[in-house]
Chain length 378, copies 2
């Protein structure tokens, strides 16, 4: 069933005959499985007119009429809620600045009423909510559903986020590191229809990474796989919150960049000074790009992904430099691999992690549709 | 069948009843599969006496009486041939210094007669050779079975190694990057019985890495996954053969270390000078360990493996420093993960890659026994 759903997702619209071809299942099996999925409201039939003769064919696609998924991103400076249908269409977005708030109680003062309102609205329109996906700063304890000790995120140490959310809202709840939710946004709704081996790098107040291999999140033994922001870039450099020295995050995140420039305290100001040719600002930007290049070359030589996606609140300030950075990187990669370098901006901008949080639930639906729907009924 | 073989390998000796428990297959299926595997000569029955009452039980284990595997390592300074039985026991080892040889023709002058002799001896003793596994300096083109342009290994660019070996020796031939074969030696014959998520780091003339996740080699999109020696450790550092600057290999390999010391030209001399307290030698060793620590912290924060295994010709010179390096690393890791740090020396020392080359063929036998045996018959 999972395989059939994955094929439908890849093709967006596909006939039963094509499903038989692509899965190798018998047409009887396809008939039964698609019948069941239609009954469940996960997929539906469309009539498509194809070719010159205008022959009508019955196609299958995801059904956006019965279910909704909620994605929630709890960030260091913002929180965002998105509502997504089964076609990956974002039907609602709510964003709030959280930069003056600190710790779970303070955050839930904002989140609680908004999420209750969203839930009520979806249900009053007659939709069923499949689940709540949540992106938060990592690392976390996946078994317990708690945050561990996220750097630069005071008050959240050991917070039992998953069980709190489940109790508050009564929804199937999946939580994940925000760099990994961001990667999942590409994997399911963005660029992942064509490539399922990617590294997402989110740069903002911190720098995080989400590694997707063969379409699956790779977490590592302690949930630390993909902590690209905590690779040492400056040997014997500044102490980092994580315990290491000279991490990319200490020099390449927004605070890291601004700590190397005395002329102001925002990226807007830095960029204006760079445009005005201010020498210290130029040096700061040059070093920032050098750190970025080093981070990226290490990502290539360690993970060798098909695709690197850059996102986060820092990215827009560096976007103009992406082309020269890529050209420079090509000259530093193994010659045979240099033409395959592929670095692109994220599809959903500042909503990336919230959309990816919803994508977590969508991924669960595709891998275990019957189990998720049973949880939803219960 | 693959699952049954994997369970037998994990337990070394296991009864049919335990196989039913561990696989969830029916006892009828286990009876049939084990019968077939016994007929094929892959496994055999043993009688084991267990418990106080001395009850006799029929156990199953791998059969070392019918098959042999040959492992070949083609290195930058040595070549080695090992012969391994199906229990992973090394029954023969041949090693040759190759430091005055250059390029395939020169190497095959040595390899050809030795490998022919080994093959003839195995066959004259009545064994069947399952295949030839080969470790070589990467990167390589796996589809074509050719080397690409390995750094510091002149004359081998684009060499069609797999087809040449197949034609010369008529054996099923698998080729792999030598850091990955080294990792496979642990995965199948070494420490991998208890942990299947490991990174092997081989340090010698070059520095390479082999990443094993859930028991499988991870190659990446271009075969570059795990090129740990080519992560930038010294920003804006020395040019490396790979195209990048400041790679760990440029400062942390044997030539990289010796390039930072003017007092001699061997690791033995450097270590003697360190013991004698010669200041430049002490500084060189201190920096070497700092680079090693940085390399290792990056490996942890990027891959988060259960186990890191260190090997290669450099390792013995650094072995005495492993404990302080580990202690220092613990203080630099995320606090919650620091007790799980586990770095150990390789099981097979200088024979690691050759043993791992044989392990490639063993892995193929376990995943597709019928296909490999059919190739062997043909």
């Amino acid at each position: 069933m999972s395989e059939v759903l994955e094929k439908i997702w890849q093709h967006q619209q596909i006939s039963r005959v094509e499903l038989v071809e692509h899965t190798g299942l018998t047409s009887g099996t396809i008939t039964n499985l698609t019948h069941e999925l239609i009954e469940l409201g996960v997929i539906r039939e469309f009539e498509a007119v194809s070719g010159n003769v205008g022959r009508r064919r019955v196609m299958l696609g995801f059904d956006s009429r019965r279910y909704r998924i909620i994605g929630l991103d709890i960030g260091r400076a913002t929180m965002e809620i998105v509502v997504v249908d089964l076609n990956g269409k974002i039907v609602r977005t709510i964003e709030r600045d959280m930069s003056d708030r600190k710790g779970p109680d303070d955050y839930f003062e904002v989140i609680d009423p908004l999420l209750r309102e969203v839930k009520r609205d979806i249900e009053s329109e007659g939709y069923t909510i499949l689940g709540l996906g949540v992106g938060v700063p990592g690392p976390m304890d996946y078994g317990a559903g708690t945050l561990l000790d996220p750097p630069n995120f005071p008050g959240w140490k050991n917070y039992p986020l998953r069980s709190v959310l489940e109790q508050k809202f009564g929804l199937t709840t999946l939580i994940e590191d925000d760099a990994r939710t961001s990667a999942m946004a590409e994997r399911w709704y963005g660029l992942g229809r064509t490539t399922q081996n990617l590294v997402f790098i989110t740069m903002g107040i911190g720098i995080g990474g989400g590694v997707v291999t063969d379409g699956k999140i790779v977490r590592g033994t302690n949930g630390l796989c993909g902590q690209v922001g905590h690779m040492t870039i400056v040997i014997n450099g500044k102490m980092c919150d994580c315990g290491n020295r000279g991490c990319w995050e200490t020099v390449g995140s927004i605070p890291g960049i601004l700590s190397r420039w005395s002329g102001g305290n925002s990226m807007e100001q830095l960029l204006a000074a760079v445009r005005a040719g201010e020498p210290e600002a130029l040096k700061c930007m040059e070093d920032t790009l050098s750190y970025l290049e080093t981070g990226l070359i290490n990502v290539y030589n360690l993970y060798d992904p098909e695709l690197v996606v850059l996102g986060g609140r820092l990215y827009p300030y560096l976007a103009d430099y992406l082309l020269p950075v890529q050209n420079h990187l090509r000259s530093r990669l193994y010659a045979f691999a240099k033409d395959r370098l592929n670095i692109v901006p994220s599809t959903y901008g500042t909503s990336q992690s919230a959309v990816g949080a919803a994508a977590l639930v969508f991924g669960f639906l595709l891998s275990e549709p019957v189990r998720l729907l049973a949880l939803t009924e219960g």
